[in-house]
């Protein structure tokens, strides 16, 4: 039993930490820490910096630009990355689409797409959910009909994150209506978003932020060569992706950073002439979340260790997503409590010197309710553990 990193791992951590410290553009870091929206230019700029360093996609095979890091090193990198306040890399290209191409794509597809994903020459998004198919994803209806050398796609996708930045979208589409089992008859298609017939409509969330969209497909022609793996075998691909890269869903690094910010703000906020952080009622709320986070960090490392030892992890890894999102949400709620009466502030109308950060705190609380809903709702995660891990 040894919870510590080796000397080599510690040296690696320092290397990552130092590089991030020196390389994250100050304006971008500022935006991340102040919960400001990042433009496409912001995201692409940082993406290219990371790509130039060769750290854009650690889990890829080395010949495609990956690193040969161990699971522990990959975890350390992700933690340091989040802790440093680096802008996010949208996962849809490097993590999701690339993983699928590496596992199921033809040689030609890999050659065509992977280098452009690595350098963010194409911005990717994900076309999975539909208005009638959320948690029950396999019931999806968006139709792709084969006509000669192409498919014709008709239907709608929803919750398309950063769809308004997207150059390409990977979609699950129905290619066979006649099968009785709904998981069969689904295919995995790569679609150029500049193809005629595609409309992207913003779906503004309750914090008035624009991050997700609806995407409509009307007689969209997609070349047959954009099919990944076999026709009607898209569910195999989708399942592979669901089980992929789940060691960082706990977002421990990000929560540690947010916890420091929360305590710092609470220490500088006064209640009855004393720091709010010293108010026992408030302090206990913070402590409970801190304790949960301390435990989650070790739980996360236990899964990393399992991966290191056995090359795989059990379905109970879903607990990282459940606990991680509960913690993230709890922190946003506590931050709102620190803001107190100022939590109401949102958008200035006639207000010189408006505190933009204060105005983002409640919005972030509302926005973060998404975390227990997206990427397989926490209820779905519980179903997964119940079925796959507990055998219920």
């Amino acid at each position: 039993m040894d919870l510590n990193y080796t000397a080599e791992e510690l040296a690696f951590r320092d290397e990552v930490r130092d590089w991030l410290q020196a390389s994250i553009p100050a304006d971008l870091r500022e935006k991340v820490l102040n919960y400001e929206e990042l433009s496409k230019d912001d995201l692409v700029r940082w993406h290219k910096i990371l790509a130039d360093k060769g750290w854009l996609a650690p889990s890829w095979p080395v010949e495609w630009g990956g690193t040969d890091w161990t699971p522990v090193q990959r975890y350390i990198f992700e933690e340091e990355y989040a802790y440093a306040g680096a802008p996010p890399i949208a996962p849809f290209g490097p993590t999701m689409c690339a993983s699928v191409l590496l596992r199921f794509g033809s040689e030609e597809q890999k050659q065509r797409f992977l280098p452009r994903i690595y350098h963010c020459d194409d911005f990717w998004c994900q076309g999975y959910s539909e208005p009638g198919s959320g948690s029950d994803l396999a019931s999806l209806k968006c139709r792709a009909e084969r006509r000669g050398d192409h498919y014709v796609v008709n239907g709608q996708k929803i919750w398309t994150t950063l769809g308004h930045y997207g150059d390409w979208i990977f979609c699950l589409v129905r290619t066979d209506n006649t099968v009785s089992k709904k998981q069969e008859g689904i295919s995995f298609l790569l679609i150029d978003m500049n193809t005629p017939g595609i409309t992207v409509r913003p779906l503004v969330l309750l914090d008035e932020g624009h991050e997700v969209n609806e995407v409509f497909f009307e007689d969209v022609k997609v070349p047959l060569e954009n099919l990944v793996y076999e026709e009607n075998k898209g569910w195999t691909v989708a399942k592979y992706l669901l089980g992929h890269e789940r060691l960082n869903t706990g977002r421990v690094g990000q929560s540690k950073r947010e916890m420091i910010k929360l305590k710092d703000m609470a220490a500088r906020t006064t209640k009855n002439g004393k720091p709010l952080l010293e108010d026992p009622r408030f302090r206990d709320r913070v402590s409970r979340v801190e304790v949960e986070l301390m435990a989650l960090e070790i739980t996360n490392l236990r899964f990393v260790d399992e991966m290191r030892r056995t090359g795989q992890i059990g379905a109970d890894v879903s607990m990282l997503k459940i606990k991680g999102t509960e913690i993230q949400q709890a922190i946003t709620e506590l931050l709102m409590q620190v803001a107190g009466p100022r939590a109401q502030s949102f958008k200035p109308i006639d207000y010189e010197g408006f505190d933009e950060f204060m105005g983002s705190i409640a919005a972030r609380y509302f926005n973060y309710r998404k975390t227990s809903i997206y990427a397989g709702s926490n209820e779905i995660q519980r179903n997964i553990i119940a079925k796959m891990s507990l055998g219920l």
Binding site: L3, R283, M294, T299, R309, M319, R382, I385, L390
Partner: protein, 381 residues
Amino acid sequence: MDFQYTEEQQLLADSLERLVEKTYDFESRQKIVRSDAGYSAELWSNLAELGLLSLPFAEQHGGFGGGTTDLIATMQAVGKGLLAEPVLSTLLGGRLIANAGSEAQHAELLPSVIDGSTRLAFAYVETDARYEPAQIAAKATKSGDGWTLDGEKIAVQHGPLADKLIVAARSAGAAGDREGLSLFVVDPKAQGVSLNSYRSVDNQRVADITFQGVKLPADALLGEAGKAWEAIDEALDFATVLLCCEAVGAMNFANETTLEYLKTRKQFGVTIGSFQALQHRMVDMTISAAQSYSICLLATARLDAAARGELDAAERRRVVSGAKIKVAEASRHVGQEAIQLHGGMGMTEELKVSHTFKRLTMIGQLFGDVDHHLERFAATA
């Protein structure tokens, strides 16, 4: 990084589990805890023979020279088996001797702790002091070469089973001071010591103890007079961490047996485990136990690092209190849910899970409840 037990650690835990299965099954335990003795002398000597009591003590006294990390798996087996033997109390008493005693006292006392011939209990809790050692009011007065002890201790875990009591008393200062606390080794049969013994709700033997003009020789004092606070604080952290590991073993048992019940109990023509409302609760119980285990790993590692002088005491206190907060809340969650999911059967005296629930509940209160540790956690973070 490595989350595997060493071969020795695993072996010891497995041996203990096998021993418990063979000689200390639930029915046998039910008889043992209600017997006059209140514990199994046979199991106790077997535990000592396995080396369970030697693990955290120095090699020159016959110990193994290990840390709390070496006891994680073993204490889980203690929790799973619902042992009523004074394992934790004796380890805690030994830790107090190791922390506060002189080299001569180590040599005199520790070998018989390690070989199981001296069972110990720590008398520190008082009605008004509750869990806070600094609030101790029991008085030790210098008289001649020795000391006179007066005061009342309550809820002394395994007091009735102890060959020797380690008593925390105030030789100087007033309740609330960390300075002025001293530790004494007291024979429970000495004149002026009276025990009111009882069986606790979770079937441990406990005593309220009165000390009235108890005459103690000079060498009954462990180490230096008035300087025991740090030794007590560290030993209680040590015991708290081990208790948390015990709770994890108990929670894991509660979860296993509840899961089994969900898979076999039928209502409405189906197993009740097919109901999503129950599945999700079972998952949350599993997560509670997993998070508890994780924080136990952290706390044992930090406690051992602090014992080696690699970490300061404040950080040790913070992590140990964090562990107790998490484990106590998880124990409550898992215990209550295990009973609820067992339905009426969980309410009976007949199932082991009901007894596990009682133990988990009392563990939540031992060595400081959640509020006590929240206060301590906040004070050090």
